[in-house]
């Protein structure tokens, strides 16, 4: 390729009146919004470097046929636009060119290549494209250096930047990024790893190889290779009998990684509770507190079709269709490269849905993020990004991943806490749908592999990106974390693959399917080999992004956009033909067998032979210690305030990032593709009042719906993780109840993100963190049983710590509880916004003096620099009482008696009333005296800002009041006031005015905090 010419295309917005350079304006707005830095103007030049055998005439024709828009853009080839005085009459003050490092996924370049081949098909397989962009700045404040600007415009881990300062710019010494050529790789022959070494040495092998295996696990592997029978088999297959190959060791490390095998949830735990004196042993939290309750519920219902064993859990939605749902986290990659990490998170969980049963169609995404505070002003440790940059990057990644895949983002949340500075949590969830039966009669949720089926790898190619993702995420984040763990998703390659796979499914061409996520082929082929009892895989035929990858790298690489599919030999021809039509790469890479072994070859040479039983059952159970000592917190210091000052407190609370409007961010997700969106993220007269759960009607024209909601309450972990988990589950269900979910068909997903709970020198408080996990699991067990809410799928991420500058930052233990449920008739769905002035306002559910770890407590703590504590009573749950009320409320909704319903959570009653008023452009008058009957010692703080569970704020038409009250008989149901016209929101206690505020002031506070910036 060295003598192939490189053509450099440049594109920028034409200078036409009424046509801004919106790309440049966005950068300008980003600097203002993220950093408070105002620059005069920014322009952007897009650059495409094309290496291809084209004539200069062909090259010239491609400017406006392909790279530049002939109507609104300037374009050039091999001449920089910066030297064109008609385009840039005034030279920029600073110019910064950025581009990807070699080997990083460049989607725009891939698209450019595809476009080039459309015009010049003869260039097939010979052309290469790379993109870069040049940012031009005018009017940069003196104190801002070019280096600083550049640091905000690229991520050093995956991108390069070349800077031209003012002197360079005056000398027309423009920055250029060279074509990102990858240095050739030299393929390493499989090596043998000698495990007949000391224990210290075993640990060293694990650590230097990023295997994340502990001593017991290394010893179990050592023992396997000492087994005489194993040695005989190995010898017969031409392998070194008494030691693993690097391929085998890597494969075991992936399969046994915390990420893939959930060792902490499977561990035997010795648990001590110093409060109660309990001393017990728990044999697997997963089996005890998640699986058993769900199986118990399964024995009572007929709609739990597939739980625990597949890529997502499947429920019967009606006789013709089933729904499935899965949520994942992508935390470590998102810390290193927020955009790429988050994007691979969302497209990755989409593949879990595609890989469920015989293939489900993704129909909705959910995104829940936990970040450091966007206005964080403390020092940022080396190796970390400022939370606002993480936020923007993650958001952009999920936006691109979801929008480009044509999957609506229907529900989510964004949570802020300083402890997410070290590791952001990026939860990505997807709902899928599939026909209960395929045209050939098979039930779609059951995989049907047989020995002899051909193993196809479909979609993207394998590269060195994403090697060691699974084991890496099983370690804490450090400055040395490898860049190979970072990847950028390619939604369009995946979209083509999804289209192709679903067509193949309906044609009956798929026997078994799973995605290539963590662990790559080693996991995907390995897992499916468990179904038939073996597989034979040839790595030499796997298509590569770059020649020269070693066998173990091909086996464990987590390169994205790949599915592994089993196809009957009779169907292979049709399957391959379909792949060609969709321009999707599908390669036969092996065969499923019943040999009992996962055999991996590279051409003729066998490089791994792992008995399925050892691979999946050989990992020794962890033995862990847990000890609960309740934490002690300082109490909250409440100020003495009058009604107006109370109103100012509400105003500040509404401006807290946790409460503030996320509309600017949410609006840039497509939430309506598929034309099924009944209850949207925002409602109300101005479309800006936050909704609760999403309701979708996924079969166009039909009125049966699905409800999707999320609950997350990490604040409460600081006092008790039991309360945290209970609050999360209740919040998810409450949200679903607010829109009128069918309570007889609800299912949940548990997603744990914990700091490392294994006691060690690095984690001296491991016992406490594990006790938090035990308590959260017990809450999950108790509450899900009480709500008849089976957990159909879940995930855990157990190493959410960062050690940076020698300091450890652990995330607060966080459970995201996601819920999917049925809606019998979407025409009866209820939204959160108050509807009309004069409507009566009711609070359902009991309010207690529960302000411990509330959003208000955290606000007072932050405002007092920690003088005020967060201590106090935390919300206690009465699930039975709640469920009974929820049932009555959904019945009232079915009867059309409810005008609005809104979940009462962060910030308590006061913020909830305000949000409902936003939706009606109204105010309200509330009397809190009725709710004081719930609790003997409640005060105004507790009534207005307490976050007691099981509460929903409802409004009802005056004419429906009597019927509504009758239908809620026997439940805590208090008429608090009415929706009023005007700008005032007033809370009284009988005749005493407690709080008063201006709605317009509240709106400004609530909308201002997270405004992402305007061009």
């Amino acid at each position: 390729m060295a003598d192939t010419p490189v053509f450099s295309y440049e594109v920028t917005t034409k200078d036409v009146e009424g046509l801004p350079d919106a790309r440049g304006d966005s950068i300008k707005a980003m600097f203002a919004s993220n950093y408070g830095v105002e620059v005069g103007a920014v322009r952007v030049i897009l650059r495409y470097q094309v290496r291809a055998q084209m004539s200069s005439e062909e090259a010239r024709s491609a400017i406006f046929d392909l790279f530049a828009d002939p109507v609104i853009e300037e374009g050039s080839v091999n001449e920089t636009l910066l030297n064109d005085q008609t385009v840039f009459p005034i030279a920029p003050q600073i110019a910064i060119a950025t581009g990807f490092k070699p080997g990083v996924t460049d989607n725009a370049a891939q698209a450019g290549l595809d476009g080039l081949l459309t015009i010049f098909p003869a260039l097939f397989e010979q052309a290469e494209v790379a993109t870069s962009r040049t940012y031009l700045f005018w009017g940069v404040p003196e104190e801002i250096s070019p280096d600083w600007l550049a640091s905000k415009l690229h991520n050093r881990m995956i991108e390069r930047a070349i800077i031209a300062d003012t002197i360079d710019c005056q000398a027309k010494n423009w920055p250029t990024i060279n074509f990102p050529d990858r240095p050739a790789l030299l393929q390493q022959k499989p090596s043998i790893v000698n495990l007949e070494v000391s224990d210290e040495k075993l640990i060293e092998i694990s650590q230097t190889g990023l295997l994340a295996l502990n001593l017991e696990e290394m010893q179990a592997i050592q023992a396997h290779y000492r087994n005489a029978k194993v040695r005989i088999t190995r010898e017969a297959r031409g392998l070194v009998p008494n030691a693993p190959t690097d391929v085998e060791l890597e494969c075991l490390a992936q399969t046994w990684s915390e990420h893939c095998s959930h060792k902490i949830f499977a561990a035997k735990i010795h648990h001590i509770d110093t409060e109660t004196g309990e001393d017990c042993s728990i044999d697997s939290l997963f089996k005890t507190h998640i699986m058993t309750p769900t199986l118990d519920i399964q024995s009572k219902v007929d709609w739990l079709l597939s739980i625990f064993h597949d890529n997502s859990g499947v429920i019967a939605w009606n006789d013709d269709w089933s729904l499935c749902m899965k949520a994942e986290t992508h935390n470590s990659p998102s810390a290193l490269d927020p955009f790429g990490g988050a994007m691979t998170g969302i497209v990755g969980v989409n593949r879990d849905i595609l890989g469920t049963g015989l293939g489900a169609r993704p129909i909705a995404n959910t995104d829940v993020f936990c970040f450091g505070p966007p206005n964080y002003s403390g020092a940022i440790p080396e190796g970390l990004f400022h939370p606002s940059r993480v936020f923007r990057g993650v958001h952009a990644g999920v936006r691109a991943g979801g929008n480009e895949s044509g999957i609506p983002t229907v529900n989510g949340a964004i949570i802020f806490d300083e402890r997410y500075l070290g590791k952001p949590l990026v939860y990505c969830g997807t709902v899928g749908m599939m026909p209960r039966r395929l045209p050939d009669g098979r039930e779609s949720h059951i995989k049907t592999p047989t020995p002899g089926d051909i193993v196809y790898m479909v979609g993207g190619r394998v590269g060195s990106d994403g090697i060691h993702g699974a084991t890496f995420s099983s370690l804490e984040l450090t400055e040395e974390s490898p860049s190979s763990a970072v990847q950028i998703g390619d939604p369009i390659t995946q979209k083509k693959m999804i289209d192709m796979v679903l067509e193949a499914r309906d044609l009956g061409l798929i026997q078994v399917i799973t995605d290539n996520g963590a662990g790559g082929l080693s996991s995907s082929v390995g897992e499916m080999a468990e179904l038939t009892g073996g597989a034979d895989l040839d790595l030499s035929v796997v298509p590569l992004k770059q020649a020269g990858l070693s066998a173990w790298e091909i086996l464990v690489s987590e390169s994205q956009e790949r599915m592994t599919i089993g196809v009957s030999t009779a169907d292979c021809e049709a399957f391959e033909k379909l792949a060609v039509l969709h321009e999707v790469e599908a390669t036969a890479v092996g065969t499923f067998t019943d040999s009992g072994s996962f055999i991996v070859r590279f051409g003729e040479q066998t490089v791994a032979d792992l008995p399925i039983s050892f691979l999946y059952d050989g990992c020794p159970q962890l033995q862990l210690e847990s000890e609960w000592i309740p934490p002690i917190h300082e109490p909250i210091i409440f100020p003495q305030v009058n009604a107006n000052e109370f109103g100012e407190i509400l105003c500040r609370l509404m401006a807290r990032p946790n409460v503030a409007s996320k509309e600017w961010w949410v609006r840039s997700y497509d939430h309506e593709v598929i034309a099924q969106s009944v209850i949207k993220p925002f409602g109300g007269v101005n479309h800006d009042a936050p909704g609760d759960a999403a309701v979708i009607a996924p079969i166009q024209g039909q009125t049966q719906g699905a409800v999707i909601s999320n609950g997350i309450a990490p604040r409460y972990s600081d006092i008790d993780a039991y309360a945290m988990a209970a609050a999360s589950i209740d919040e998810a269900l409450r949200n679903a109840v607010c829109v009128g979910v069918d309570l007889d068909l609800i299912a949940g997903l548990d997603n744990f993100c914990w700091p490392d709970p294994v006691e060690s020198a690095k984690t001296p408080d491991g016992r406490y963190k594990l006790a938090q996990l035990v308590r959260a699991n017990r809450a999950l067990d108790d509450i899900c049983r009480a709500y008849n809410l089976p957990c159909i799928s879940g995930k855990d991420s157990m190493k959410n710590d960062a050690i940076l500058d020698g300091k450890k930052i652990s995330v607060p233990p966080t459970l995201l509880f996601s819920l999917i449920g049925n809606h019998s008739d979407v025409r009866k769905a209820v939204s959160s916004d108050f509807k009309n002035v004069g409507d009566h306002i009711y609070l359902l559910g009991e309010t207690h003096q529960e302000l411990g770890a509330s959003e208000l407590a955290f606000m007072f703590r932050d405002e007092s620099n920690g003088r005020s504590g967060i201590g106090g009573t935390i919300p206690e749950i009465d699930a039975k009482r709640n469920l009974s009320m929820y049932r009555s409320l959904t019945a009232a909704m079915g009867a059309g008696l409810v005008a609005s319903a809104h979940d009462c959570s962060d910030g308590g009653l006061a913020t909830t009333v305000a949000e409902c008023c936003f939706g009606c452009d109204s105010g309200s008058i509330i009397d809190i005296s009725p709710i004081t009957s719930d609790c003997s010692h409640i005060d105004s703080w507790g009534a207005l800002f307490g976050e007691s569970l099981g509460r929903i704020l409802v409004s009802v038409k005056p004419t429906d009041s009597v019927a509504f009250e009758a239908s809620m008989k026997g439940h805590a149901c208090y008429k608090l006031g009415r929706v009023e016209s005007g700008d005032n929101i007033t809370f009284n206690n009988g005749n005493d005015s407690v709080m008063t505020a201006s709605m317009s002031a509240l709106r400004v506070a609530w909308k201002g905090t997270l405004d992402g910036g305007t061009n």
Partner: protein, 272 residues
Amino acid sequence: MVDTPRVAVLSGFGINCETETIAVFEMAGAKADRVHVNRLVNGEMSLDDYQIMAVPGGFSFGDHLGSGRLMGNRLRFGLREQVRAFVKAGKPVIGICNGFQVLVKMGLLPGDEEVSLTQTASLALNDSGHYENRWATLEFDPNSPCIWTKGMTRMRVPVRHGEGKFVTDDRTLLDEWAESGQLAVRYVNPDSDYPSASDKILPYPISPNQSWRNIAGVCDRTGLVFGLMPHPEANHSTWLGATWTREEIEHGEGEGMTIFRNAVNYVKNSLL
């Protein structure tokens, strides 16, 4: 003779609204097929068998190199004569959102009499610089020859795009298109009285993208080829509206359906 119009709904390469686009045509009484672009290129299927062609919304080729550009090129280079023959035969074509971008970038809209496939307008990045999903109110030009929008006054629909600002580099063309009724649909302030479509650019977010003359969609001179940025197919039923829970309504067909019904009826009355 068949009396059910057949609709080719294009798919592939990141088009993603084909499911609902098929659904709305079927609700409007047509028979709609998902037609992968490559099936037309390789001859497995033919546009000759259809009376309506729809290019649905989506993110074809990830919007890289400009939204609709690469898909437009697939049609302009790979299916050139098939598409020209379809248009010249007087059969209705619609492009929605990304499909509209495709039709504009390939020069089919606003188009010319020879169907020369020469681009004369474009859809630039929204002034906001980013993608947005929000609801807008549209007003239709009663004097437009557009067969798709016949009899329509206003419609509420979601917009979901990052590049929807309709512009051209020759402002005299705007007057020509206005004169010939090709500026068929524009963003309008929902609180204003009908008719109130105007050339003065409305404030954000009433105009979500600051499109010139508030243009939301255009048709060709014949009124048969039509494209728009907003998504009428996403308002096929009343329960999909942005504020339906605030309204006293009889549930049923949504405001967006008239567009599809118009085309199906046109084919039934004029082509079958």
